[in-house]
Symmetry: C2
Subunit: 150 residues, 2 copies
DNA sequence: GGAATTATATTAGTAATTAATATAAGTTTC
DNA sequence: GAAACTTATATTAATTACTAATATAATTCC
């Protein structure tokens, strides 16, 4: 909480606030198909890395391993993912994201990009430029957060 | 989807990506007390405006009015909110966020600020400055999104 | 004053989640 | 190389969260 180089602390709170509000806008994007929050989260996780074993998925989401087993069972029944055994380790089940599952994540991603674009158009060119210049730093910030996760 | 002034489209996708990744980092912040996603969302909504009537809350969250009635009942039982009748309109119930409920949101907010601070410290001064300069524009972006919601 | 509307509550059924336990494959140790 | 331990997934039973449909009651609008 100590001041951070020459950036006053106030900025962090404002940044967090903006982030919080934007999150609210996108988290509950109404989809045509209804999926629970955890379902979407698992699909999203798999969209970043597939296949993954159940244990990895369990570690990523804040639910029990049993919930993941059942969720993957439902996802497999609905044709969004596919279970495959690991030839190296007979205990392991690899969960693969397949086409129909990936389509769900992709469409939500496009929807999100479209809404951000619409919001950006309402800003002044200077504001747009300020955000544009910050994007590489924001990417780095996000990458750091992702990596630092155990 | 057409190019937007002199900012190439690529930026929007990158911005959305960074945003998406950062969201993942914070959405599942493990709390000491366990509350469902919708519970936290309702508390957060109330932290921005309290009191609110059930109908308003229903419109904000993507759940049914029945779910809100039941959720508010649980929140009231747990001492996080308080129902009060509206003297002007006998049909209305005003839901007030009270101390213990506000504390939950405040503590999560502080946790979020602390984590963002920690991430920012890993960036170069130039990157930090780029984000700092974009914060006012990000705030405006978030405000626009908030207002434009019905 | 009766009809339509608005705001909340109730009920009954379904889906999602957890805690606890089971099964089975791998690893280690002596 | 077998007993003890650890790791990975599955199963079961109970609980919680959610929806759809319907009820109740106050308000508004001719």
């Amino acid at each position: 909480m100590k001041p951070n180089h020459n950036q006053p602390d106030m900025n962090v709170a404002d940044f967090a606030w903006a982030f919080e509000e934007l999150t609210r806008l996108f988290i509950r994007l109404p989809s045509i198909e209804k999926h629970s929050f955890t379902t979407l989260s698992v699909l999203h996780t798999l969209s970043r890395k597939s296949p993954m074993r159940l244990t990895e998925l369990t570690a990523n989401e804040q639910v029990t391993q049993s919930a993941i087993t059942q969720l993957v069972t439902r996802l497999e029944r609905d044709g969004l993912v596919q279970r495959k055994p690991d030839p190296k380790d007979g205990r392991v089940v690899q969960v693969h994201l397949i086409e129909q599952g990936r389509a769900i994540i992709d469409s939500r991603r496009l929807e999100r990009i479209a809404r951000i674009s619409a919001l950006l158009e309402g800003l002044t060119p200077e504001e747009q430029q300020a955000i544009g210049l910050a994007v590489p730093a924001l990417k780095r910030l996000a990458e750091r957060g992702t990596e630092s996760r155990p």
